[in-house]
Amino acid sequence: MQKYYVERTFQAIVTVVSVMTLAFFLLRLMPGNPADAYRAELIQNNPEMSQAVIDQRVERKLNVLPSDPLHEQYLTYVGGLLRGDLGESINEGVPVSEIIAGALPWTIFTMSIALLLSFTIGISLGAAMAYKEGSRFDYGSSVLSILLNSIPNYIVGILLIWFLGYRLELFPTGGRYSNDMEPAMSPLEPLATAAFLGDAFWHASLLIASFTIVAAGGWALGMRGNSIQVLGEDYLRVARLRGLSERRIATRYVGRNAVLPLYTALLIAIGFALGGSVILEQVFTYPGVGYYMIEALEARDYPLMMGIFLVMTIAVVIGVYIADLTYGIIDPRAQARGGEH
């Protein structure tokens, strides 16, 4: 009875553990170490700093690096993880969990809005295209969707920054919120909170737009295919004959039956969104987890990288996990179809 849940949970744990182990050792295989990276940074930012001072600082950085054999470091790390301790960032000198806690909400904020927007736009457009299959609208929108889908989102990002940010100066091109904005997140101050969220959205709007534009094309194409299939189903013809209103048919019949198969894809996309934010956040210098990922990579900040990798992996695992566990509940057909979906 509970066997499936247990198995699935076990698999999720195995996945996280193996990915973490892999990542741990891969990270140490990378050439260079935090001290090297620090030297590079010092030299670049402080050309006037004397070599002696640089050496001295690098030396200090080396001292904070653990010198145990790798497998012991691994055990220590795992031990720490079990206690909920992600370690301390070598570069920033603060607990990794603190950095992630600071960055994660922003990535979740932007990515969830972007995903929801792209999903909504995509499925509406896709359904509209399917309804008008073969029309000029369908043709044009399909080409547009394909075109959008063939541009990497970071390129869209560059273009948006370029034109809307730099050229027309309509949008901010980076940062989380305006300088004069007091961060407010409290139900007691609804106005301030709304203003703050609005401002944050304003700042993230280009980033969100780049993700949305590209992803919406993909969703639209998927939804179009599904809807066309549903539109050809017998039950739709019967529903029309039964005199159901077009609205009910569009929502309860076409919409629902065509969207449900995308549900899994959406959940998995949510999981992958964290990892997918890397380049975009870098382009927009938006300090979310993806941004810190590259920062950490450049600084060879192992604990921070591990922490971020962990978060990204867990996000995917949770996405897939939820998708697997709930799909049967969401879509009654799944039970009939069996495990494959």
């Binding site: 039950y235 013809r237 029309r240 005199g243 159901l244």
Partner: protein
Amino acid sequence: MSRGTDAASAVGTGSGSDHVLECRDVTVEFHMDRGTSKVLNGMDIDIERNEIIGIVGESGSGKSMFASALLDAVVEPGVTSGSISYRPSEGDPVDVLDLSTDRLRQLRWEEISMVFQGALSSFNPTLKLRGHFVETLDAHGYDVETGMERTRELLADLYLDPDRVLDSYPHELSGGMKQRALIALSLVLEPEVLVMDEPTAALDLLMQRSIVSLLSDLRDKYDLTMVFITHDLPLVTKLADRIGVLYAFELAEVGRTEEILRSPKHPYTRALLNSTPDIESPLEEMRPIDGSAPDPVDVPSGCPYHERCPLATDDCATVTPEMEAATETHDIACHHWNRVDDEIALTTEVDR
């Protein structure tokens, strides 16, 4: 090549009785790259109130097109022409093919409803059966509560457990149960006419037979007129009052069931009867029909059956046969129908 449009030549039904549907020159066409495909060709037939009429024919002969045409529901991009006049028991007759969208929406299911060939895929897979009933009642402004009462009664009449069925998703029911539920759904608005397109094709024989025997009861209980479409001749003889035989998108013969069985006059009907496996009749006499069914884009001229017909003469290849009445209730579209008895033996022993 249509057989004239004059309504006078409508296929007789005998005793000038009460027609619920009168089809005149009903034609369905598809325009395709290859040419125009006439998948129903000048169909003239009257359907009496409270009768069960069976329409048989081989696969692709246009049976489903006829069924769809009765509700003006031929799939796009098919074009239906001709006239189908519907005479409700109260009120004025209307032409089904000439209705406003709203009136058509009301006509369908409230007055003429339909059970499809594929019951298995006639339900929305993500909606419980109850939902299907409720939304149908809702869409037609019926009182849901009384409607559901009726639904339960219908389901029970069909040997189904109403509660269990209503609370199931379609995939949770077996094919036979789904098929019966679909029949219930088609009757929920108390229509006058029920069109059934191969309602049992996908089912087991036992289930087919059981459903067929239920249908007679339903007809009596709910005062229905039924159009029962099938390729299974033995099955329909158990049920129908009259049978029409379709060949190559046209009616070849129509008559009372015993007339079709005992003295079929069209060579095709005879061949069909002779080729139907049957547990009773002697084996040696069963023969297949040679040749194959015509392509709708390219139907042979004259009598469409002439290429396969043993009686065919030169005339058959050029002159399209008109419906001729053998008896008051029996019409045949064949130049040589009166030679049939002598030339083609009927090998099935029908009466016993």
